[in-house]
């Protein structure tokens, strides 16, 4: 059984203009959303207090709000979480009546006035100094991952591939973060972890296509880089889709059965897998080809002439513009 027809000969490269336009639109949309709406940073980054409680019966949110207002809080939000009985209250770092970690004790007491049968589910308090650190660490982690990948792919393939792979990753991360911003999903530490996992996944896909491209460059005597790129993507198409489907299956299981806390994590990964699959088919090879990858680059290194400039062998129309 095959999901897709064997020996496909879809001309992906011919459609790369369309793909580039689509990507450009998505990226512009992402950047626009990031600059205008920004990210809905979670507690991990902003600092503050989050309290999740479960009431025996669905409470009136207004009652919970007034209980907190009576306790002297302002600027807080009260929402249901998953079910109508589960309530989450978020108190921003600077709107607290109490100092530091005592807030949570105080808020719990206030929320218990609504219904004594309340059950504490979760308390998270993050001091402002932690939030800054976590944001810094998250950003650094992203840079280190990209840099490490640049090095490894340069070493194993060639710098053009490395740049192509990183371009595809930046493309993926930007669009995923843009979508998170667009939907105003909460951006917290687990989402950062999910984004790093997306990088790992998307890269995996890209490397597999590159690997075949390298092999075809070495083995096939005929064919322009574009033709070979087309061939490689087609050859790997069933694998790319199959792996995406298996990964999607477990992510969907995680999304529907993993509980409310894991939702944003699973959601980010699902978006990431979709974007990553798309980019490894349309963007990664296009980028490498546009940068001028040629047969000479990938031949096993010979003693002489290995470093010759390779611009000549690329037809004019495929050069990066």
């Amino acid at each position: 059984m095959d999901i897709i027809k064997t020996n496909t000969t879809i001309d992906f490269m011919a459609r790369r203009k369309i793909a580039l336009i689509l990507s450009a639109i998505l990226i512009v949309l992402s950047v626009f959303s990031l600059t205008t709406r920004g990210l809905n940073f979670g507690l991990d980054f902003t600092g503050g207090t989050l309290i999740e409680v479960s009431y025996p019966t669905a409470p009136d949110l207004g009652n919970v709000r007034s209980a907190l207002t009576d306790a002297g809080y302002v600027g807080f939000t009260v929402q249901t979480f998953g079910t109508a009985r589960d309530i989450v209250a978020r108190i921003p770092a600077d709107a607290a009546a109490e100092e530091g970690a005592d807030i949570s004790t105080d808020v719990l007491a206030a929320m218990a006035t609504v219904d004594q049968g309340m059950d504490m589910r979760r308390v998270e308090f993050v001091g402002p100094q932690i939030g800054e650190e976590l944001a810094e660490q998250g950003g650094l982690a992203l840079l280190y991952v990209l840099f490490g990948i640049l090095l490894y792919v340069s070493f194993r393939f060639q710098w053009r591939f490395a740049v192509g792979a990183v371009a595809a990753l930046v493309h993926d991360v930007l669009i995923v973060v843009g979508l998170i911003s667009l939907f105003q999903m909460e951006f917290d530490l687990t989402v950062v972890a999910a984004i790093l996992a997306v990088i790992g996944y998307s890269l995996n896909d890209t490397i597999v296509v590159y690997d075949r491209l390298r092999e075809n460059f070495r083995v096939k005597r005929k064919g322009t880089p574009v033709e070979l790129a087309n061939l490689s993507v087609n050859q790997m198409l069933s694998r790319t889709l199959m792996t995406s489907v298996t990964t999607m299956l477990v992510l969907i299981a995680l999304f529907y059965f993993g509980g409310e806390i894991i939702h944003s994590f699973a959601y980010t990964l699902i978006m990431g897998v979709v974007v990553g699959t798309y980019s490894s088919i349309f963007i990664a090879s296009t980028a490498a080809i546009a940068l001028g990858v040629s047969k000479q680059d990938l031949m096993p290194v010979e003693k002489e002439g290995a470093d010759q400039p390779d611009v000549e062998v690329i037809p004019e129309r495929f050069r990066s513009s």
């Binding site: 993050v126 001091g127 490397i207 792996t243």
Partner: protein
Amino acid sequence: MNRYPAWKYVLLVIVLAMGAIYAMPNLFGENPAVQISSARGFELDPALEDVVSDALDQADMAHQGVDKLPERMLVRFENSDQQLRAADLIRETLGDGYVVALNLAPATPNWLSMLGAEPMVLGLDLQGGVHFLMEVDMDAARRGQLERFVDDMRNILRDERIRYRSVRTDGETLLAELRTAEDREQALTIFTRELPELELETTEANETFNVIGTVLPEVLLELQQTALQQNITTLRSRVNELGVAEPIIQQQGADRIVVQLPGVQDTAEAKNILGKTATLEYRAVDEQNDPFEAQRTGRIPPTSKLYSDRDGNPILLSRQLIASGDQLTNATASFDQNDGSPSVVVNLDPQGARSMLDFTNENVGNRMAVVFIEQRPETRMVDGEEVRESRRVEEVISVAVVREPFGRTFQTTGLDSSREASQLALLLRAGALAAPVEIIEERTVGPSLGQDNIDQGFRSVIIGFVLVLVLMAVYYKVFGLVANVALTVNLILVVALLSMLGATLTLPGIAGIVLTVGMAVDANVLIFERIREELRLGNTPQAAIKSGYGKAFSTIADANVTTLIAAMVLFMFGTGPVKGFAVTLSLGIVTSMFTAILGTRALINLIYGGRKRVQKLAI
């Protein structure tokens, strides 16, 4: 022909057997148990086991065995009813010196424990509990240290009768202003001798002759380390009071402490106790009156107070205080320079040193005692209900004879062992003033959410796993089934490795396992697609298998190494739960390489490799 040498099968069987053994403890669940540990964090007396066993035997309570570790002891019971009754009994029998807590002991069969196989530890997000991140206020500690040096300098100048204009802190340095150049020379000589912790230099001012002191960087570093250690020690004894079964108290970074209290839900109480400080007092022993007489008659001299020492003997101490805990700057276990016997070296601040010197000058040959004072919360069962109350506990932890006058630094000798010395030093430090701490992060998970997380986590693993198995079997037929075996083994290996490493399983960790399941089949997808391709090119089935595995290998390796890079960075930068995700993801990648390449090839070789003529592959 596709045949594997016998050693590869042996290797596979060994790995599979190891994986099965080390993953197995996770299947056995847990027994209710009572955990006993010293209230002060000391090692347990080996004889304690007999005491507990005897007490239980006398009360006719059956227990299922005792696990002993140097610092704690677990007594297992059949059900939680027995566990509760036994906990009360043991608490009564052992008294205040021990923490008796309810715990769950893994019900791992003995033969597995002997092999070192233990189940995974559940993280706080799965079993419920409190996580605090506390920050030690190092600025306050440094300021305090500078103030002490100012006092030291003043006292030295006063003792040496050198007139000075002022001694004060100036930013991060110390400044002594003297009136003449000669005074300054003299002061410099004495400071150099008495205060080796300072780097000294002289400057001229308008009307004064100044000495500027800078605390040496290594002294400051040591101060920070001491402040942190002191806080950790204090927190540990506080946590012991809470009766938490398996607390974690660890240094994190230069000035932070992580406190994790599994199973604790009353965070208000926990914060209360963690924030509380103990103290200690140095008092003179009342040598005029007989403590036994006083205890018997109840007539206690008005200037004295009756205490009992650690052996339970009565002792009368003067009501007048010599020095208190906040004047104690450090206490370390050491060895006496004269006879090499164990000792504790104590440092006092100038104020404490002064009154200590006054006292010892007049009391050579008399005894001096140290009283440890703390507010200890207690939970007692009154009419079947838990009642929490706090009680002021005073305990004489050391009585020693004053051999000669001393002040700032002195040592207590005559201790039985170096263990006793380190115990005393620990107690003294616990009672001393430490730098203030602040809770900068709190994460509490209630028990109901923890259970939900476990249920939902495992459910999503199983559902995702089954979906992938079905898809693989339908899509790749026999090869798919082979991949499914590899995937199952992979799951077992990940669990086995997590258990062997003693890793903590968290919700993100489970997410990592789920993701691994999805990605682990990728290696097989690559191989199988390649084999199909080779078949389409007209290769024979045997040749297709051979080149399919051969050609896919470097692709798989490259793809996985890059994913590993991402996982490693995640591990280095992530904290807590994110780390758990990175660990499971990395382990999953490594084991999947093994099972998906070596494992499936071995099975495929068994199925197809031996046959002379294979017409068609079920792929």
